[in-house]
Subunit: 346 residues, 2 copies
Amino acid sequence: MSRNRVTVVDIARAAGVSKSTVSLVLQASPLVNETTRAKVNAVIRELGYVYNRGAANLRQSASSRIIGIIVNDLTNSFFAELAVGMDMVMQSAGYVQFLSNSAESVDHQREVVASMREHGISGLIISPARGTEAADLKPLAASGIPVVSVVRNVVGAKVSSLVSDNYAGAKAAVAHLVSLGHSRIAFLGGIANTTVFAERVQGWRDALTEAGLEAPDMLVIGSTASRAGGVAAIQRALSLPAPPTAALCFNDAAAFGVCDGLRAAGKEPGRDFAVVGFDDVIEAETAVPALTTVSVDPQGMGRRAAQLLLKQINTGKVEPEAIVGSVRLVVRQSCGAGEKAGRTSA
Amino acid sequence: MSRNRVTVVDIARAAGVSKSTVSLVLQASPLVNETTRAKVNAVIRELGYVYNRGAANLRQSASSRIIGIIVNDLTNSFFAELAVGMDMVMQSAGYVQFLSNSAESVDHQREVVASMREHGISGLIISPARGTEAADLKPLAASGIPVVSVVRNVVGAKVSSLVSDNYAGAKAAVAHLVSLGHSRIAFLGGIANTTVFAERVQGWRDALTEAGLEAPDMLVIGSTASRAGGVAAIQRALSLPAPPTAALCFNDAAAFGVCDGLRAAGKEPGRDFAVVGFDDVIEAETAVPALTTVSVDPQGMGRRAAQLLLKQINTGKVEPEAIVGSVRLVVRQSCGAGEKAGRTSA
DNA sequence: GTAATTAATTGGATCGTTCCAAATCTGTCA
DNA sequence: TGACAGATTTGGAACGATCCAATTAATTAC
């Protein structure tokens, strides 16, 4: 095959200096003379030199400038946007990322984490797969690699976390539906045994009881957190003896599915049935009807997570901190409240 | 703050063998005695050793087992699924990927490519940002790194490509609309000066003329290839003096936007106006009405691209090959043709 | 004109692994 | 017993960059 690659030594020889000088030029050190620097840079370009980061990272001091990102479902646009937010910050900080999709498989996730360790990542942001245990992240934290867990929490793991205020968001959403006169409000979609699900259901429940309404378990209908899951959930809901007139959905994808299901059943979302989502993905705004939803700002969350990680990498301090991002209810049309008017903060 | 990592030498000392033996164990070489292997493996686990791939890659022979993936818009679920398809294949072949989002910026893309080279990727799959030139990929190909370009082509670049048959797909879709009795069929959404756009419009045009219909430029309404872009395009289309009664959309995202826009204008997609998309993203099936679309199977395409790249990496042969993936029209409800019945192949 | 100071440059040694050639250790057979 | 083959094991020399201490060159001070 091709190539015996060009190394610093080749550059040095061609430029008539020592490899040490070339190294200094590569690091933009102020120690080298301007003329020398210019000559070396010229040779570098001429020979098509490619910096070998692997070799550089061998010296223990250097940091790899790679950070790992693992999300549990890239096909969900919430996570795709989350990843894009991280990308922005990391890119401009001169890091590259290893982005991987665990597809909710802890095994796959374990392999990816192992592989990332072998490649010497300097930090990890992870939206953990369902069922992730503290032990899965322990080795990383133990070897001093900062870890930030986003969206979901890993109980017992000594890592920083950035989750949104699911409880408050759900509560505000339900309170809003109550204020619109609804009394049978369902909770639709989402997989039951997750923390996020539990928190949102708790918000739903508390908002109802505080309003003096019942919160029967029958009105909590789990399924997958996807469009298809939303369709299934609303079908079940409509077939109940006393069907609900409104619903808070686990996330926006499910909410869109609920809208689809309503239409399939001859009901118009926003008019015949109030729908509220959770996340505020981009499509929420342009959909018809525009989706009333609890805004989590996935890109912003991704950016914050990245910044948090960078801070930890730079300060070298890995004191875990837990941040709960505030959320706000964005009222649009799908709840039947009216125009693209009001914005209530939660 | 821990540090001084565990190395092969530490393992060797603890296990009472030489580092060479440890290295052989790491590579699962058949040369080492079973008892020795067991002891070494025990020590490895005990000391929490982490293999340092960077150091291993230093020997020129080794391949990095990293492949780069660059997509131009991760928030578009088409690309997210494409990435997921690649991930599957790469993962099971023991490769890890660097996934990055160029967000349609050639500058950003250039930086990412450079960074990937420095990290010694053994191959690259790229869905190039708009405006990518052959020169952007030349250095990679020149240093013998296999490159596969997907979805879009880079003119003049000597790299393999895997694109879908945009022309045939568009033609089949329009022919189907014609067979349903439509005669004013628009082409909505998408950014005008791209190859993909041009190919799909050409298919649209040829199908119309072959059917003896007119194909006025006025009915080609570009915008962004997103949901919002679809809304904008259909609004423009409906305000024409002689508005169309059907449309082929640039992609599914735009098609969903067109449906939204139709509803906002009081028309029901599938009944009052026929809509056909392109790509067949997962939501196309569950949406209401289910979207009639040209199926490209993004995950399958991702898998094929990954396989193509692996083949090139393994054979060491980088003869560029150009593959045009066949597509098929999936007839669902949004075109008004009827049930979730027929499937016509293109 | 020499010493002291500052600016540039440069040999190694080093990082953690792989790989080759050579060394050691069996056991077998004449 | 000694030669010999096969099975295991093992020192070092890479790989490509960084970094320290030391050297050389240029400048200033007295």
